[in-house]
C-alpha cells in the first residue's frame, strides 16, 4: 500500500502479519501512522484491526500471538533482537475498550502508575506529570480536590479519561486507542472525541473504531480492514486521508462498506 502523504511517520508497519497458533488473524499490513495525526483503523469486527494495534506495543508477546514483519516506532525497531518490550511500551501509551483504572488505587496513584512502573520515584516529577496528564485529559478541575479517592468512584466516562491521563502521564510519542468509546454513552463519547482531536496536535494516535462516524469526526487518516477471500484472515484494503477514503474510495469493497454502513 503506497503511502500517500509527505508527512513523517511516527509508526511504520511493513508486511506485518499476526498469527495465533495456526490461525493467521491478519496479514501483510503495511501502514504508517503519521506524526501528530489521528489514524483510524476501521472495518467490521474480527478483521484484525485490534490485533494490528496490539502488535505495535508488543502486547501479543504474552498471549501467544506471533508477529512477523517489521514495526518501527520513531527510530526504534519494535521487534528488533535487542529491543526490550518494556521500553517500547514506555514510549507507546494504550487505552483499552473498557475503562480499566486499577481498582485498588486512588486517582493519583492511577495516573502515576506508569511512571512508577518505569522506576520514577521523584515526587516532584510524579506530581508534575499527574497534573499535566489530568489537564490534558480534561479531568484536572474535576478531580484536583479528591486525588486520593479510589478511581472506581468516577463515572465510566471519567474513568476512561483517567485511563487516557494514565497513558499520557509517561509522555508517550504514540497513543493507541482500542475502541475507547465502545462502552460509553453518547455524551461521554463526545468528550473523548473532543479530547482526541485536541491531543492529536502533540501525540500520534492510532484509533481502532467500529463507528464510521467517529472515524470521520476525529481522524486525519483512515485504514480500512476487511476479511480476505479465505474469510479467516484480515487484510488492509485501503488507506488514505479520511476525506478521500470516505468521499472517493478507490476500492469497491471500501465503497460498499462505507455506503452500506448507513444504507
Amino acid at each position: 500500500m503506497t503511502i500517500e502523504t509527505a508527512e513523517a511517520a511516527a509508526v511504520s508497519l511493513e508486511d506485518v502479519s499476526v498469527s495465533f497458533g495456526s490461525h493467521r488473524v491478519v496479514r501483510d499490513v503495511t501502514l504508517d501512522l503519521a506524526r501528530n495525526r489521528v489514524t483510524a483503523l476501521v472495518g467490521p469486527s474480527g478483521c484484525g484491526k485490534t490485533t494490528i494495534l496490539r502488535a505495535i506495543n508488543r502486547l501479543h508477546d504474552d498471549t501467544g500471538g506471533k508477529v512477523t514483519g517489521r514495526v518501527t516506532v520513531g527510530d526504534l525497531d519494535v521487534y528488533g533482537r535487542d529491543t526490550q518490550p518494556e521500553l517500547v511500551r514506555s514510549r507507546v501509551g494504550m487505552v483499552f475498550q473498557r475503562p480499566n483504572p486499577f481498582p485498588t488505587m486512588s486517582i493519583f496513584d492511577n495516573v502515576v502508575a506508569g511512571l512508577r512502573l518505569n522506576g520514577v520515584r521523584n515526587k516532584a516529577l510524579l506530581h508534575e506529570a499527574a497534573e499535566a496528564a489530568l489537564h490534558h485529559a480534561a479531568l484536572w478541575d474535576l478531580v484536583k480536590d479528591r486525588l486520593q479517592t479510589p478511581a472506581v468512584r468516577l463515572s465510566g466516562g471519567q474513568q476512561q479519561r483517567l485511563c487516557i491521563a494514565r497513558a499520557l502521564a509517561i509522555e508517550p510519542e504514540v497513543l493507541l486507542m482500542d475502541e475507547p468509546c465502545s462502552s460509553l454513552d453518547p455524551i461521554a463519547t463526545a468528550k473523548i472525541e473532543e479530547l482526541i482531536t485536541r491531543l492529536s496536535s502533540d501525540v500520534t494516535i492510532g484509533l481502532v473504531t467500529h463507528n464510521m462516524f467517529q472515524a470521520t469526526r476525529v481522524s486525519h487518516y483512515t485504514a480500512f480492514f476487511l476479511l480476505g477471500e479465505d474469510r479467516a484472515t484480515g487484510e488492509l484494503i485501503e488507506y488514505g486521508r479520511t476525506v478521500d477514503l470516505f468521499d472517493t474510495p478507490r476500492d469497491p469493497r471500501t465503497k460498499a462498506y462505507v455506503s452500506g454502513e448507513v444504507g
Partner: protein, 316 residues
Amino acid sequence: MSPVATTTGLGTGSPGDGGAGLGEGAARRRELILAQSKRSLGRRHLAGRVAVALCMVAVAISLAPLVALVAYTTSRGVHALSVDFFTKIPTPAGIAGGGISNAIVGSLIIVGLAAVMAVPVGIATALFLLERRGRIAGTIRFTADVLTGVPSIALGIFAYTVLVEPFAHFSAIAGSFALAVLMLPVIIRSSEAAMRNVPRSEWEAGLALGVRRGRVVRSIVLRGALPGLVTGNLLAVARAVGETAPLLFTTGSQLFNLNPAQPTAAVPLTIFSLGTSPFPADQQTAWGAAFVLLVFVLVLSIVARLVAGRLNRQAR
C-alpha cells in the same frame, strides 16, 4: 445521510489548532521518564528474577513437607500390609500381628450412614437455594458457609450431647451424625453450584413440554448436574472418612461390630490410639492404617476430579 456527506475538513485542517500544546515541560518529562525507564530496567528485571526465584522456593517449601509425609507414610505403611491386616482384629497392646478389619468395616459403616443422612438433605437444601432468592436463602447459604469452618471436634461433642448421652453408650450412628453435619455444608454448596450450571433453557424446555416441576428437576436438572453432584459428594465423603475428632467421643470401641446402634471402631481412631502408643509394634500398625486411609482418600479425590474433568469436557 451518509458519512461521506458528514466528513469534516478535519483531515485537511491544520494539525495544531485547538491543541493545548504539551510544551517544554512535556519534552523534558519525556526525556526524564525514558531515561529513568532505561536506567531502571535492568534492576526491574533483576528484581523480577529474584522474586520468581523466591516464589519457586516457596513452591518447594509448600510441596516438600506434604510430599515427604505421603512418601514416608507409604514407605512405612506398605510393610504393615498383609492379608491378616485386612482380615484380623488388633492384637493386645504391644504385641505384633493382628489387623484392622474391625476399623475398616466400622469406617465404611459410619461413613456410609453419614452419606445416607447427608446427601439427600444436602441436595434438597441445594434445590431450595436454587429455586429461591431472598433473605431465607441468603441466610441458609451463609449458615452453610460458616458451618464449613466449624471445628470438627465441636461436631463430635454436639453428636455426643444429642446421641450418646441420652442412650448412655457410644454408637456408629452418633459418629455418622457428626460426620453428616460435617459433610452437609460441603454438599449443599457444591450441589448448588453443580445444578446452577444446568442452563435455564433446559429447565424451561422441560417445563414447556408440560412436565411437572418436580419431574423436570429429577430428569433434567439432577441428570444434567450429575457429574458435578458426584464430584461434590465424593469430595465430602473423602473429607469425612479421614476425620478423627468427630468420632473420638461418639463411636469408640475396638470390637468388630456390624450393628450401627452399637459402639464401632474406625480407622482414624485406630491410628490415633495406636500412633500414640509407646510400643513400636502398635506404631507400625498405625502407619499401615494411615497408609490405607491415605490411599482411600486420595483415590476418592482423584475419582472425584476425573468425574469433574469429564463434566468440563462435556461442557465444551
